[in-house]
């Protein structure tokens, strides 16, 4: 095997391992925000590594541009869905407060409410 193929294989294996790690995190973590953390960050990195491996092993620039497009779309859509899911989870009470170290949103909401009441 050539060097490029070795690198592509390493990228694929790393990407698959990261996907596996993300799946374990999604299954094992205790609440919605922790699962979102597992489901977005390692997942996206794993996907980027898989796309890199595919680009290296096919090795045409046309395909490489499409794969860059895939990665860009993933980077654009993952925060959107994470934002929507996190907000909906907070509003419907799916966030476990005892697991949070810092909860700035609740503090801010309370301060806003306290500012509003006298005036």
């Amino acid at each position: 095997m050539s060097v490029v193929e070795w690198v592509a294989s390493a990228c694929f294996l790393l990407g698959c391992a990261l996907t596996l790690v993300a799946a374990i995190g999604i299954l094992r973590f205790p609440d919605l925000l922790a699962r979102m953390h597992a489901g977005t960050k390692p997942q996206v990195l794993g996907l980027v590594l898989s796309m890199t491996g595919l680009g290296l092993s096919i090795g045409s620039s046309q395909v490489a541009w499409k794969l860059i497009l895939v990665i860009v779309f993933q980077f654009m859509t993952a925060p959107v869905s994470a934002h929507m899911v996190g907000r909906a989870g907070y509003r419907t009470g799916k966030v476990r407060e005892d697991l949070l170290e810092v909860d700035e949103l609740t503090e801010d909401l309370e301060r806003a409410k306290a500012d509003e009441t006298p005036g």
Binding site: R35, F73, V80, M84
Partner: protein, 134 residues
């Protein structure tokens, strides 16, 4: 790409997909299921990428682009329309509960059939008050 890499990576992806499906089955709320579905689509994309690299089919890359574009719509839609669910609602019924539910449903159907049969009889009587038989 060597088949060893393909099988090793494919096994990892398959295990990952199974774990994600377990979370979808369990997942206490719809939002948990939504993010698990996102992860399932991403692992599908990983599998497609590997298949494409093994067989050298570069046309599958278009499928990857489409999946990357539309994969997030499901979870965004779910998150937009999610409501506060009762604590007990997000699980699958046990066989015992299913049996009770079925029995209740069958009883209701039985009652409904009796009532409609009785209604037909009385309508026939109203139409032919002399009691002639048809």
């Amino acid at each position: 790409m060597s088949p060893v890499v393909m099988w090793a990576g494919g096994a990892m992806l398959a295990v990952a997909a199974l774990l994600i499906v377990a979370r979808i089955e369990r997942g206490p709320s719809m939002l948990d299921r939504a993010i698990a579905l996102d992860a399932l689509v991403a692992s599908l994309m990983g599998g497609l990428a590997m298949w494409s690299a093994t067989t050298g089919r570069s046309d599958l890359v278009n499928v990857l682009v489409v999946l990357a574009l539309v994969g997030f719509i499901g979870s965004v839609t779910l998150a937009r329309f999610v409501a506060v669910e009762p604590e007990d609602e997000g699980r699958i019924l046990t066989p015992e509960e299913v049996r009770i539910h079925d029995a209740r449903l069958r009883e209701a159907l039985e009652r409904e059939r009796d009532r409609s049969a009785a209604g037909r009889d009385s309508a026939a009587q109203r139409a032919h008050p002399e009691g002639e038989q048809q």
